[in-house]
């Protein structure tokens, strides 16, 4: 059962395509597991459809339609094969951060500090506490962790900003998918791993 959802703003940005890539994936994972948020996003997409329908228009190049018609039957480039997080979770290397705590970076933008990574913790281990610089969203893929707001199981979503106080710890062995915007300051056990992650 899902107990923790993205807030209204995050769902709005998700529906409108306004989230950075990593955050979008984290929200997508929650939505795939949560009917309530799926319905909410569908409602927001209906809103977006109306905004599109009533939008102003910009004139197109004179040959725009002709070009489009020409390409209708052109072969489509195959989609890129997605990273299989399941496979990554079970094998491959993890970067040890502290006793019972590992990271696996999936992607990172050096210029903005935007980052997507997996976080794995053993039962009873405190998760990294994020500092006051940037924004983080995560979704539980496996296991359970807890913080001031209760327990988070598979599909549950957590987001924190400047105002969030939380002392998360792994209740069972758990794996989370997390995205950050901007550089983060970890405190506590995970602080020393930062240079390796470049966050």
């Amino acid at each position: 059962m899902i107990r923790h959802h993205p807030n209204e703003e995050t769902l709005g940005l998700h529906a409108f395509g306004g989230l950075k890539a990593g955050a979008r994936l984290v929200v997508s994972a929650h939505i795939a597991a949560c009917r309530e948020c799926r319905d909410a996003v569908a409602a927001l997409e209906a809103v977006a459809g109306v905004v599109l329908e009533t939008a102003e228009t910009a004139p197109l190049a004179p040959d725009a339609l002709a070009r489009a018609l020409e390409q209708l039957d052109a072969p489509v480039a195959p989609a890129r094969t997605p990273i299989d997080v399941q496979a990554l979770m079970d094998k491959g290397w993890w970067l040890p951060a502290a006793p019972g705590l590992w990271f696996k970076p999936l992607s990172r933008r050096v210029d903005t500090g935007e980052k997507l990574y997996l976080l794995k913790a053993k039962a009873g281990v405190p998760l990294p506490e994020h500092g006051h610089n940037g924004y983080e969203r995560l979704v539980v893929l496996k296991g359970t962790f807890g913080d001031h707001d209760g327990l988070y199981g598979p599909g549950d979503f957590a987001e924190c900003d400047e105002s969030t106080v939380h002392e998360p710890f792994a209740k069972t062995d758990c794996v989370c998918l997390a995205a950050t915007e901007g550089p983060l300051r970890f405190s506590g056990v995970a602080r020393w791993v930062q240079p390796f992650l470049g966050v």
């Binding site: 209204e8 703003e9 709005g12 529906a15 409108f16 395509g17 306004g18 989230l19 950075k20 890539a21 990593g22 979008r24 997508s28 994972a29 939505i31 795939a32 597991a33 799926r38 319905d39 909410a40 569908a42 409602a43 927001l44 997409e45 209906a46 809103v47 977006a48 459809g49 905004v51 599109l52 329908e53 009533t54 939008a55 102003e56 228009t57 910009a58 197109l60 190049a61 725009a64 339609l65 489009a68 209708l72 489509v76 989609a79 094969t81 997605p82 990273i83 299989d84 997080v85 399941q86 999936l106 992607s107 933008r109 997507l116 924004y135 979704v139 893929l141 199981g153 598979p154 599909g155």
Partner: protein
């Protein structure tokens, strides 16, 4: 459960309530053009959709800071995807214009991802299956759209602008605040207000 991300979310449930005939005719037109493409690769239906939506998609992207050339390319790509993906449109599950929006949105997102080298990701969440919803209330997608059309006309311009600003671009609230010369808190609260109002309206119809 295998999860493929970046798919369109499930759409609004259906209803038996009637809509105004003129609105129904219009909604039916966009939807029926998409269906005509899906069923018989109808190029004249595509031409009509292109004339209606490509200039709007281009305008939205330009408003968000894309150059005219880049916006035109993305509008082209979006309309090509309307052609290619027409058979995934289900008129019973949501409005036609919402479907076109999601196609355009995903094109914009993919373009950004290509630019930045962020790979697509697939993953699985291990969890018990969701309980089936109890007696889904049913609402006609076209009726929702009509109510939303009216509601959007009554939204204060400042709220609408914040919504427009968050379309398609991964601009943070901080960046929107900067673009509109507003305090961050104001951007957040306007967006929250607008969302709550519009979503409340969709919720009321359920």
């Amino acid at each position: 459960m295998l999860v493929a991300v970046e798919t369109r979310s499930q759409s609004l449930p259906r209803s038996r309530k009637p809509v105004t005939p003129e609105r129904e005719a219009e909604a039916w037109t966009t939807a029926s053009h998409i269906v005509a493409i899906a069923e018989r690769a109808d190029r004249s239906a595509f031409t009509l959709l292109f004339a209606r939506y490509a200039p709007r998609i281009k305008a939205i992207l330009m408003r968000r800071g894309a150059s005219a050339a880049a916006a035109e390319e993305l509008a082209q790509e979006a309309m090509l995807n309307v052609w290619r993906k027409a058979d995934s449109f289900d008129p019973a599950r949501g409005s036609a214009e919402a479907w076109i929006f999601t196609i355009a949105r995903n094109v914009a997102i993919d373009a950004r991802r290509r630019d930045r080298g962020v790979p697509p990701v697939a993953f699985e969440i291990e969890m018990s299956p969701e309980p089936a919803p109890l007696g889904d209330a049913v609402v006609e997608a076209a009726q929702v759209s009509e109510r939303l059309r009216i509601a959007i006309r009554t939204l204060p311009e400042d709220q609408l602008e914040v919504i427009r600003q968050s379309f398609f671009e991964d601009r943070s609230h901080g960046e929107i605040a900067e673009a509109l010369h507003l305090p961050l808190g104001t951007v957040k609260s306007r967006l929250r207000l607008a969302m709550a109002r519009l979503r409340g309206l969709v919720g009321d119809l359920k």
